[in-house]
């Protein structure tokens, strides 16, 4: 590299100090309000503490206790259900919509680019409030609609139903988050060169072949990014089920997520140790899944090379 500016020790020192000054605010605040709490949380996970007096060291008891708690087991199952279905449906829908917007829409491209983003402006908690009103047992829009169709007034308690509450959370996630993935996929689609498509068309390659052999493989990095983002969010899902069930988790904890379990143990039962242990379980799940995705990605790439 050609250096036109002097490399004297003094200028070197000046440059280094400029670097440290520029990153100082970020790392100071990060250290004080993120790293320190996380280290403390590690300690809390092995302690019994209700916030008064001093924490008592109890080894792995919190971790064991969580595993034996039926509510935690149910929360894990619910979280996996919600994470799996919301990720699968949201990303598939976004994929179909963005390919359609990018390739097939005959008119109103700008409208379609924008319209699915509107729900992103609505806080998940607020979207849940609106969904509650539409699905409420007494006079909710959905019951009015089913009542009018069947001819008998309907007072079905959607939000209290153990069967329906999880699909409603998934519906809420689809409504609110599809636009986010559309942006990611549209950005990915636009980075694919038009020449490839033109060449394929010239060679008489059909639409489905173009989609499955060119578009989807080239979009893999965007899809992987989307899945990792959805997993990070899905494993910690809180706002949507919390507001939809008014913080109670639904009938028999049918919509309690691990995030809600963490919140309830810490902030209603004041069991900070157990709550911290649960947060480390979430962290472990995030790390494991991220590593799994990475190795999957590497394998598909290696497969292409061979």
């Amino acid at each position: 590299m050609v250096e036109t500016v002097s490399r004297t020790p003094a200028s070197q020192w000046r440059r280094n100090s400029a670097f440290y000054i520029s990153v100082l605010p970020f790392f100071t605040i990060f250290l004080a309000f993120s790293v320190f709490p996380v280290v403390f949380s590690f300690y809390l996970g092995f302690s019994r503490w209700d916030g008064f007096g001093s924490p008592v060291f109890i080894g792995f008891q919190n971790y064991v206790r969580a595993l034996h708690d039926p509510v935690f087991q149910k929360a894990v199952a619910n979280t996996i259900y919600l994470w799996f279905w919301s990720t699968l449906l949201t990303i598939s829908l976004a994929l179909v919509l963005s390919v359609a917007i990018n390739e097939y829409v005959a008119a109103g491209k700008t409208y379609f680019r924008m319209v699915f983003l509107v729900p992103l402006l609505v806080a998940p908690a607020i979207a849940a409030v609106v969904l509650r009103l539409f699905f409420s047992a007494n006079g909710g829009l959905v019951n009015l609609l089913t009542g009018a169709m069947t001819g008998t007034p309907s007072y079905f308690d959607w939000l209290g139903s153990e069967v329906w509450i999880k699909p409603l959370v998934v519906l809420l996630v689809i409504w609110r988050w599809t636009g986010w993935y559309i942006i990611i996929f549209l950005a990915g689609l636009q980075s694919i060169s038009r020449d490839i498509y033109e060449a394929a068309r010239m060679d008489g390659v059909g639409r489905w072949a173009i989609l499955s052999r060119i578009t989807l493989p080239l979009l893999m990095p965007s899809i992987a990014f989307a899945v990792i983002t959805a997993t990070l969010g899905g494993l910690q899902m809180f706002d949507e089920p919390f507001v939809l069930t008014q913080g109670l988790g639904g009938t028999n904890n049918s919509a309690t997520t691990v995030g809600m379990y963490l919140y309830a143990t810490a902030f209603t039962q004041l069991n900070f140790g157990l709550g911290s242990a649960v947060s480390w379980y979430i962290f472990a799940a995030v790390v494991v899944l991220t590593l799994v995705y990475r190795s999957l990605m590497r394998r598909t790439k290696a497969g292409e090379g061979a």
Binding site: F19, L117, L133, A148, S191, F272, I282
Partner: protein, 284 residues
């Protein structure tokens, strides 16, 4: 351009594309319907919203609905609270992130640079729930509970913001500019404010819009640190209103609408920046 493509298409392809457009149009109505109905119901009476078929056009009961909210809390209070959190946090976050992003992008040979860069990227995979409980206890210990401080000061250090500004500075500011600035006597920090900031202004705007909107929509952290109803931000105040006054649907809908207006206005004015903000995370 699209006309040219259509021109070259077979009739079958054209029919397919028109079918796709119609299907997408209907689906887009499904995405807009909840918001539209919220706006309509906010202007209707209680009796009207429980009728079938439901009203699909605006009514004239908005003043009464407003009065009904005002009986519960000052209707603009949550909005002012949200602004009191979102504005200072945004200014701080944009400043801290761009400064750090600049430093990481420019001084690649400073000792410790690599480590700090890796740490910054690693923070993106850091689940916020890991810090929630100890953060609450920390805020309790320093007496910040039930104030806006926990939502502002710690939040200005955003790994996402730094990573974004790091890539943005790296791709928009030519390195020769640093050397030119140095010869003019502008050292590291001066060069940031007088040379770099004017260039990265679009990126700063994008980060600001993104931060404003996501802060406006935050729920869990305000729920944990704000105990007093008078301090509630928009999502908290609305969820509370919807549980205590759920029977008065039009009033809840109007309060919801009022909480949405600020972000919708912001989006209408700066949608380009907002989208740039969302995309930036996915590139590279």
């Amino acid at each position: 351009m699209s006309k040219g493509i259509l021109g070259r298409m077979s009739n079958r392809e054209k029919r397919f594309n028109i079918g796709v457009t119609v299907a997408l149009g209907l689906l887009s109505l499904f995405f807009l319907l909840p918001i539209y109905l919220t706006a309509v119901f906010a202007t209707r009476t209680l009796n009207e919203v429980f009728q079938f078929p439901p009203p699909l056009w605006f009514g004239d009961n908005i003043v009464q609905n407003y009065a009904n909210i005002a009986n519960v809390f000052p209707p603009f209070r949550p909005i002012l609270n949200s602004l009191a959190v979102a504005l200072p946090k945004t200014v701080g976050l944009v400043l801290v992130s761009s400064l750090a992003g600049y430093g990481l992008s420019r001084y690649t040979r400073a000792p410790g640079h690599k480590t700090l860069l890796v740490v910054t990227f690693a923070t993106l995979f850091f689940p916020p729930s890991l810090a929630l409980i100890p953060f609450f206890l920390q805020m309790n210990a320093i007496g910040w509970l039930n104030t806006f401080w926990p939502l502002i000061v710690p939040a200005v250090a955003s790994g996402f913001g730094v990573v974004w500004m790091y890539t943005y500075v790296g791709s928009t500011v030519p390195r020769e500019l640093y050397e030119a600035a140095e010869m003019d006597g502008a050292g590291g920090i001066a060069a940031f404010f007088f040379v770099v900031v004017p260039i990265i202004r679009p990126g700063l705007a994008a980060l600001a819009v993104w931060t404003l909107i996501s802060t406006w929509n935050d729920f869990q952290l305000p729920l944990v640190v704000l105990g007093d109803g008078t301090k509630f931000t928009v999502p908290l105040a609305l969820t509370t209103l919807s549980t205590t006054h759920y029977s008065d649907m039009p009033a809840v809908m109007l309060a919801t609408l009022m909480g949405l207006v600020p972000v919708f206005v912001l989006f209408a004015l700066l949608s380009r920046q907002f989208i740039a903000g969302l995309t930036s995370g996915s590139v590279k």
